[in-house]
């Protein structure tokens, strides 16, 4: 097995950072769609409106993290990308259908002001695809983590293209992903919303989702036991693993306590830490394997020159990207009291333009 260069490990770490950002930012957008689907009771329409406002200005940017993960994988670890997209062809294709329907339905609903029954249909498509897509994504991650993607080249169709990603374990991880996303969304919405009634609603949602996350995480450990020796062994055999698990646990308890005591900012920070802890715990557990049983960081890495150039390109890109992102979030997330409006509904604040007033 070829030794991984520090540069290759660095890029693999970057993939994890991007994935982490996607889960924490894009994941919450999916989760918001889940709550749109589950909105019930007298305040359902107000909940839906708050959800749409919460993700409106930022969702396009949040979902670019996924493209970033894909691009880093195929430039820097091409065999991994080729292998994953061959074996996971079916769930990835279905996930893409979800991505397409979700993104377009959200926009159609926003800009189609003709009549409300049509808008409700778009809302339903948005909500359902927001719920199905994360499950498929989670199943793919679960399939990879479990080591099931080391498929024989001569197996039949089911052995090669279905069995690796369809098992009790992958379904559990898929549902865990969904619960995590819904949990994040509810916590964020509780922070952003100013109306006390809605805030209580989102708090209740967050608490319910937290319970679901805990139960599914336990189920994941149960189904993952024994079947996938490598992951289990890694989970218990490395010093840092314990650290990740402890941090995740502490963050989880902090989130719950903060939610209980209505300290929403604290809950948000702790929830992000908790979810990031799960992501990095998984990444560290399968290190240095990228596809357990098939490719490691060392065996799949592109030539050093490609890695170096992508690293430089990323560094330069981040110089533009990070301030822009900070600007976007400061503009729409930092102060929640001042409303913002979409372009077509906006009354422009300055009736006389600069030149004409001079």
């Amino acid at each position: 097995m070829p030794e991984a260069s520090p540069l290759a490990v660095g890029i693999a770490t970057l993939v994890m950072v991007a994935l982490n950002a996607y889960v924490v930012l894009g994941g919450a957008d999916f989760g918001a769609g889940v709550w749109d689907l589950l909105a019930r009771g007298p305040r359902a329409e107000r909940q839906r409106a708050a959800i749409a406002d919460g993700i409106g200005p930022i969702w396009e940017a949040n979902h670019v993290w996924l493209i970033f993960v894909v691009v880093l994988l195929f430039s820097c670890f091409p065999p991994v990308y080729a292998h994953l997209s061959t074996v996971l062809h079916i769930p990835l294709t279905l996930m893409l259908v979800g991505v397409v329907l979700r993104g377009s339905a959200f926009t159609f609903r926003a800009y189609d002001s003709t009549d409300s029954p049509v808008q409700r249909q778009w809302g339903r498509i948005f909500a359902v695809s927001s719920t199905v897509t994360p499950v498929l994504l989670g199943m793919c991650v679960g399939a990879n983590a479990s080591g099931a993607l080391a498929v024989p080249a001569d197996g039949d169709f089911v052995t090669r293209y279905v069995a690796p990603w369809l098992s009790p374990f992958t379904v559990t991880i898929g549902l865990l992903g969904l619960a995590v996303f819904a949990f994040l969304a509810a916590v964020y919405l509780a922070v952003e919303i100013t109306e006390p009634e809605l805030q209580e609603d989102f708090r209740a949602m967050a608490l319910r989702a937290a319970v679901a996350v805990a139960l599914l995480a336990l189920a994941g450990l149960w189904f993952g036991r024994g079947t996938f020796a490598e992951v289990t062994a890694a989970l218990t055999g490395r010093p840092l693993t314990l650290l990740f698990q402890t941090l995740t646990a502490i963050a989880a308890v902090t989130t719950l306590v903060a939610l209980w005591r209505r300290r929403y900012r604290v809950a948000q920070g702790a929830a992000i830490l908790q979810v990031s802890g799960i992501v990095w715990g998984w990444g560290y557990a399968q290190y240095p394997a990228l596809v357990p049983g098939v490719h490691t960081i060392g065996s799949a890495a592109a030539p050093a020159i490609t890695l170096r150039l992508v690293a430089i390109g990323t560094a330069v890109g981040l110089v533009i990207l990070l301030p822009s992102l900070a600007y976007l979030f400061r503009l729409f997330k930092a102060e929640t009291t001042r409303p913002f409006v979409r372009v077509d509904t906006a009354e422009h604040p300055v009736p006389t333009p600069p030149r004409a007033s001079r």
Binding site: G56, P57, A61, H63, V64, L66, I67, V70, V71, F74, S75, C76, P78, P79, Y81, A82, H83, S85, T86, H89, L92, T93, L96, V97, V100, S104, T107, F108, A110, Y111, D112, S113, T114, Y161, A302, P303, I305, T306, L309, G313, T314, G317, I320, L321, S324, Y327, L328, L331, F332, F340, V341, V343, D344, A346, H348, V350, T352, P353, P354, R355
Partner: protein
């Protein structure tokens, strides 16, 4: 249907769908910021109205462009894992940079669309400029990756594997400049002509409509120079092809026999079996002039390579005729507009010009699709010109007709919805302004 054909069908359909939104994603933000600029300069609300309408259109188009682009970034692997495993390390560079450009575009589009009452007009306008510039850059990077498939450089082949990889050289391949220029100009021209066409239809009915007068003026500002420059850029592409992809050029021209002083064929039906092109109008020596700038230059014909390296000649030739024909019409209309401008004549009063512009409304997009067919079908049977065959890159996964059917239905549905939305929300909206 064979799996290879289904995979090609799905890729072609996905690209044909996405390219419309990619092109509008470059052209619409440009018009949007120009309109807002005019509003800031003159204070006339008609410009503000236009900027807002076009921004709304941009929002819808961008969302569909973003999701269909995400689909493509996955389909590269889902359909062509052999290609990505081979080429990922060589052409990952432009894709990574594209990722950043696209990210910036998405961020500032959010700022622009939702920031009307949170920003000063100046800051708001600059966020629109950021959308326009990053959209253009992102388009260019994607085209650079495609250009490499036409002119693969930046590596050496040893035992069929690429070694001595140089991603910078790969990115700056000989096709990079002609292709990037051609597509960027096409994007601006197609969008501008389409908007001009929509306004021309309205102005033929009511020449006093202020919103459409303003829209027509702005659209022509961008469409006219782009359509005229495209002629020069097309010539650059022809010279590139003559040198680097003579087989593609031969297929485009229906040119079978290698000859000195080759004639340019306009129209005609190539017959692959008989190795001849019938019913074409031939202009003697013109192909040699266009390809090499020399009436006696030798232009390679299809017969210079074995038949199993021929692209589908009929499709390539016809698509090329469509692209050039429509491009010529657009350039002609643009010249006509220039004549009006020079004579200080109001374009709106020239009813014959308005009629031509109205008919040309979809011309740019049809030309873009045809051009894309020329470059992709004309490269067959290769996925990487002269290096890897498309058949060797396809996924081993069977039953590819299923995802092909699935995405075709999905995109037909989305396409219909987008057309309907743009019609009801943007085009018809003009009437109330």
């Amino acid at each position: 249907m064979s799996d290879l054909l289904a995979a090609r069908g799905q890729m072609a359909m996905s690209l044909a769908f996405h390219i419309i939104f990619a092109v509008l994603g470059i052209g619409m933000p440009l018009l949007m910021v120009l309109a807002e600029r005019e509003w800031m300069r003159t204070g006339e609300t008609v410009w503000l109205d236009l900027a807002k309408r076009w921004a709304k259109g941009t929002a819808i188009l961008f969302a569909i462009g973003a999701v269909s682009g995400t689909v493509l970034s996955f389909e590269l692997g889902l359909l062509w894992p052999g290609f990505m495993e081979y080429a990922g390390a060589i052409i990952g560079m432009p894709f990574s940079l594209e990722g950043f450009a696209f990210f910036t575009e998405a961020i500032f589009l959010g700022v622009y669309l939702y920031g009307w009452n949170r920003l000063t007009p100046r800051a708001h306008w600059w966020s629109g400029v950021a959308v326009t510039v990053s959209g253009m850059i992102s388009g260019v990077f994607v085209v650079l990756a495609n250009a490499w498939m036409n002119a693969p450089t930046g590596f050496r082949l040893v035992d069929g594997r690429p070694v001595d990889i140089d991603p910078i050289a790969a990115m700056l391949n000989p096709a990079a400049l002609p292709q990037a220029l051609h597509l960027t100009l096409a994007a601006v021209a197609a969008t501008g002509i389409a908007i001009a066409g929509i306004s021309a239809v309205a102005l033929r009915r009511d020449p006093t409509d202020l919103v459409h007068r303003a829209a027509l003026r702005l659209a022509l500002w961008v469409a006219v120079p782009a359509s005229l420059l495209q002629v020069v850029s097309g010539d650059l592409s022809a010279k590139f092809l003559a040198e680097h992809q003579p087989v593609k050029l031969a297929a485009m021209e229906g040119h079978f026999e290698t000859a000195r002083g080759a004639a340019l064929r306009i129209g005609g039906i190539p017959d692959e079996a008989a190795s001849t092109t019938r019913y074409a109008i031939e202009i003697p020596r013109m192909l040699s002039v266009l390809a090499f700038g020399d009436p006696n230059a030798e232009v390679k014909g299809l017969e210079a390579v074995p038949r199993d390296e021929w692209p589908p000649v009929l499709i390539t030739h016809l698509a090329f005729q469509v692209m050039v024909g429509l491009g010529t019409l657009m350039a002609f209309a643009s010249l006509w507009v220039v004549v009006c401008w020079v004579r200080r004549r109001d374009v709106v009063e020239d009813r014959r010009l308005l009629t031509l512009l109205a008919w040309l409304m979809p011309a740019g997009f049809i030309a873009v699709e045809a051009g894309w067919v020329v470059t992709e079908v004309g490269r067959q049977p290769w996925i990487i010109h002269g290096v890897m065959r498309t058949a060797d890159a396809v996924t081993p996964m069977p039953g590819l007709a299923a995802p092909f059917a699935l995405f075709t239905l999905l995109y037909l549905f989305l396409g219909a919805v987008v057309c309907w939305l743009l019609w009801t929300q943007i085009v018809k909206g003009h009437a109330h302004a």
